[in-house]
């Protein structure tokens, strides 16, 4: 159970979240201004990162779990039969 109120959590984490968004923005800029960007623009990892950002823009309380699943290999039930 979460004890803190949402405004307390936001107050505590706003600056570090701002910093993390900036780190992401700067990293995407760094990739895009580097030599050979066109060859990685369609790299599967770039697409995964874009999809991860899409998850962040959705609502819910399980974003972290959904991001984890995005970056996970698929499990095949019955693999050991």
């Amino acid at each position: 159970m979460t004890i803190q109120s949402a405004d307390v959590v936001l107050d505590r984490h706003f600056l570090e979240l701002r910093c993390e968004v900036l780190n992401l923005a700067a990293a995407f800029d760094r990739i895009e201004r580097s030599e050979g960007y066109k060859s990685v623009r369609d790299d599967g990892r770039m697409e995964l990162l874009r999809q991860g950002l899409d998850i962040l823009r959705t609502e819910g309380t399980d974003r972290a779990e959904r991001v984890q699943m995005l970056f996970s290999d698929e499990y095949e039930a019955g693999w050991n039969q």
């Binding site: 159970m1 979460t2 004890i3 803190q4 505590r12 309380t61 399980d62 972290a64 779990e65 984890q68 699943m69 970056f71 996970s72 290999d73 698929e74 499990y75 693999w79 050991n80």
Partner: protein
């Protein structure tokens, strides 16, 4: 607050780390056998490693007033050498009656390969035959979800290792429920870059509760922090969780799990 780090590779750490951990409240550690950063070439290499884990390391921990326990196995990274793995598994019983040995671990999967699965099952066979507790490593990153599901499948192939005698380690947001639903103990590893942060571990506690779960640092030879458990304690305090709740996760839960081992002897701090 007193705490126990139930998964930390102290052979990789300097004595100053024991001192810092003790000053932060650490009273006991458990150290699973793991990969040394290179593949060992012979069963005698493992025999020497197990002597270090069962003889010298408890002595060194004791210099700082910390009680040391250990787990024995050949790590999944080295399981691709099936012949050597089998020699090591056959040798492990030489050490199982040593004081401080808690069971078989950290066994599991790394890249989810057929050889890893073979050796994991053979470790389980040894654990069942010798009635030992089991500590399980789950893979990192992209392999974790699939590997954790495979591990649970293999545990559930047999009925002679009750789930409450198994600890599934390195659980994160997408695997904690897999472990808990199976009735297993689980642990979160506070480790930079891969695994979990203290804040995310606290989130997981808030979502899934404090039963049958613990936290550890897995401090080893890579970038890691053997004082990560106190960071988790501080995060929980920041959020307003009670001292009793925090103590349950970092002290009482590890003791409850370890006490299932008949050899386990623990002297509580004064």
């Amino acid at each position: 607050m007193y705490f126990i780090d139930p998964h930390v590779h102290m052979v990789s750490r300097v004595t100053d780390d024991y001192e810092r951990m003790r000053r932060m409240g650490c009273v006991a550690v458990s150290e699973p056998a793991f990969w040394a950063g290179f593949d060992r070439g012979s069963v005698d290499g493992f025999r020497d490693y197990y002597r270090q884990l069962t003889e010298f390391e408890p002595t060194r921990a004791g210099w700082s007033g910390i009680q040391h326990y250990t787990w024995l196995c050949i790590n999944a990274k080295e399981a691709e050498n099936v012949e050597l793995s089998r020699e090591v598994i056959a040798m492990i019983p030489e050490f199982l009656d040593k004081p401080g040995v808690l069971g078989i671990g950290e066994i599991g999967l790394n890249k989810n390969t057929p050889n890893e699965a073979t050796i994991f099952r053979e470790h389980l066979e040894l654990a069942a035959k010798t009635n030992e507790l089991v500590l399980i490593h789950t893979p990192h990153l992209v392999d974790k979800y699939k590997g954790t599901r495979m591990i649970v499948d293999m545990l559930q192939e047999r009925d002679d290792i009750p789930p409450h005698r198994v600890l599934i380690d390195h659980v994160e947001e997408h695997t904690v429920k897999v472990a808990k639903d199976g009735g297993f103990w689980c642990a979160m590893t506070l480790y930079p870059t891969t695994k979990c942060t203290p804040a995310r571990a606290a989130d997981i506690i808030e979502r899934y509760g404090d039963d049958h779960i613990m936290v550890n640092s897995a401090g080893d030879w890579g970038p890691s922090n053997p004082c990560a458990v106190p960071d988790f304690i501080q995060e929980m305090r920041h959020r307003g969780h009670t001292e009793a709740k925090i103590r349950k996760i970092v002290y009482e839960n590890p003791l409850e799990f370890f006490r299932q081992c008949e050899r386990f002897e623990f002297t509580p701090p004064e």
